[in-house]
Amino acid sequence: MTIIDELREGVIQGQANVALEKVKKALEEGYAADVILNEGLISAMSNVGQMYEDGVVFVPEMLIAARAMDKALQILRPYLVAQGVKPVGKVAIGTVKGDLHDIGKKLVAMMLEGSGFEIIDLGIDAPPEKFVDAVQNKGADVVALSALLTTTMPNMKTVVDALKQAGVRDKVRIIIGGAPVNQAYADQIGADGYAPDASSAVRKVREMLGV
């Protein structure tokens, strides 16, 4: 078992400290940062994601693995920067204004991160300006909007309109999700896509960015 294998195993088991150790060791052993990232961390998360889809594990195992990956990433990040490794893409994600639902958004963010995306988490009850700011000033390639209430879903359109107003609509892809929305609603408000759950959100975002 190589150190990369051990790292992967540590992340899958959700052992943050093991992951931390193994990343350090891998760097010492001279592995390139992008190799550690792709073959260690992202591969581990994709593994866990598959187990989840197969019904072998639940979300807690995924989240605990993601937490381990996060810890490891903190060590790895400076090396990635030095090596000039860019994230697959940057996603600004938030639950729209008036809506306090956190869970769906959290899962999508976690799975996107596990697939190599950089996440700008705008939190819940997020006003349109925050999304505009993320695109204008923080380089978001994708805006992901969540709403769980039929009364707050109209605020998704407000965000789309604000992005238009700010003249940045063309620079960004918009994806929406949440119980009350669907593809037809995405079309109607001028979003680029809709995803019914976290796994398909990752597929959809990849598709959108052609990665």
Partner: protein, 460 residues
């Protein structure tokens, strides 16, 4: 303040639909828990924005909803009707709006009472809007003030029953569900939630007393139903959701210790425990609430219900009429069946109850923990402790053991993954300190002050 040390219902056979040891009699003579099960109808708006501009349209919608539902109730000869108006957050933030709708509903119910003899009660449920500020202030501030005012104005506008789905502790509970972090769940429910309920329900009971409205009950909706929904979509293990359900009992119980007298809220599936412990009547929801969410307890929820609810349905049009009217008919027939059994005598009623129970218990541990005998056993364990935290801890330990036995005896078979998780959670429960102070101390480092203000719970 009443501390529950003894069960109000000791014999599982007495834990049955329509009957509660301490029924509630309303001024108009409607008796809840006195033998008959009534429909409790809930409804909400279709997708639309709530604002001063849309309020005329909103008023009209509520007018149509209630008019049509009452007419159907009369057509179907319901012996009584409870209507719940659960405010939309905007209607609590502008308390006048909630009160206006309350008055519209009141007026219609009064008209049908007078013209058609339809006996009814109006439950009004303002929102716990404190969470709109993050981290929330739990005991003061503009949101708190609006929330109190919403209770006051709605009570004055004609609410018979006051309820809330309170959220104290939820700031950290959502994550704890997702991470399967049992100590944090115990802390959120037993320490934070219980403290918040004490403060909050003292306020609601005061408002009720002053304005002639009955403080009814709370629900662990934001906690245990969040877990149930996550279990339903296979995000978390079902045993985890079942544990959280029983752990939530101690928190919901606080409302009754502070003066609530029922009927408990429909979405509080911990209701059977509340009924067994306090003797107050409860609302429940199941199959007919599929309009709002799927659930693994569609029939067993009927076993102990005093009110039978649809949880919530949007005012959209179906072939058979407005969706709330359709729900009313479905609830009316469900309640009629139960009342027919009651009329036939205790033996028949019990047999129907047992069918409701047998129907669901083998499929899901969340159904299993609603078995009347299980409810009585676990309730006895819970009230053996005197503090909310102590009760939450005991609930976790006893429920884990109970589910292990149920699996072992083939009464509620679990998948290997579920069994594995039951072990993991059980081990976490074993680590819970006996003393509340120890848990508080232990949590201090873990709590993120950006998420929660501990001082708002009387903790330092």
């Amino acid at each position: 303040m009443e501390i529950y040390k003894h069960l109000a219902v000791k014999d599982p056979d007495d834990l049955i639909f329509g009957h509660s040891p301490r029924p509630l009699t309303l001024p108009n003579g409607l008796v809840i828990g006195g033998g008959l099960v009534y429909p409790e109808l809930n409804f909400t708006l279709p997708p639309m924005s709530i604002s001063a501009e849309t309020m005329p349209e909103i008023r009209e919608q509520y007018r149509q909803i209630i008019e049509s539902a009452c007419a159907r109730a009369v057509d179907l000869y319901v012996p009584g009707l409870v209507v719940e108006f659960e405010l939309l957050p905007e209607m609590t933030r502008t308390p006048e709006w909630g009160a206006e709708i309350t008055a519209i509903l009141r007026d219609c119910l009064d008209r049908f009472a007078q013209r058609d003899g339809l006996k009814s009660a109006l439950r009004v449920t303002p929102n716990d809007i404190r969470e709109f500020e993050r981290p929330p202030r739990m005991r003061s501030g503009g949101l708190w003030d609006d929330m109190i005012r919403s209770f006051e104005l709605c009570a004055q506008a004609g609410a018979d029953l006051l309820s809330i789905e309170s959220t104290g502790g939820k700031e950290i509970h959502d994550d704890a569900i997702l991470y399967a972090d049992l100590p944090t769940v115990a802390y959120a429910l037993g320490v934070l939630g219980a403290r918040d309920m004490t403060f909050l329900w003292d306020m609601i009971v005061r408002v009720g007393l002053k304005n002639g409205a009955i403080p009814a009950g709370d629900t662990a909706c934001g906690f245990a139903n969040t877990a149930m929904v996550l279990a339903e979509i296979r995000h978390i293990p079902r045993v985890w959701a079942a544990l959280i359900r029983v752990m939530s009992v101690a928190r919901s119980l606080v409302a009754f210790e502070r003066g609530a007298v029922g009927p408990g809220k429909d979405c509080a599936y911990e209701g059977p425990y509340i009924k067994a412990i306090t003797g107050y009547p409860i609302a429940m929801e199941g199959a007919e609430a599929a309009v709002a969410h799927s659930s693994p307890i569609g029939n067993i929820a009927k076993a102990t219900a005093d009110l039978w609810s649809n949880e919530s349905v949007q005012n959209v049009r179906l072939l058979g009429g407005a969706a709330p009217t359709v729900s009313l008919e479905q609830l009316a027939y469900a309640a009629r069946l139960m009342n027919t059994a009651t009329e036939a005598g205790p033996h028949t009623a019990l047999m129907l109850r047992n069918l409701f129970v047998a129907s669901d218990t083998t499929y899901d541990p969340q159904a299993y923990v609603l078995r009347p005998d299980v409810v009585i056993d676990l309730s006895r364990e819970i009230i053996a402790e005197e503090t909310a935290y102590g009760r939450v801890r005991r609930a976790a330990l006893a429920t884990a053991q109970c589910l292990r036995k149920a699996h072992h005896d083939g009464l509620c078979p679990l998948s290997p993954q579920e069994v594995n998780w039951l072990d993991r959670l059980s081990k976490q429960a074993d680590t819970l300190p006996e003393a509340e102070e120890a848990l508080i101390e232990q949590m201090k480092d873990q709590i993120d002050p950006e998420k929660i203000r501990q001082d708002q719970y009387g903790l330092t």
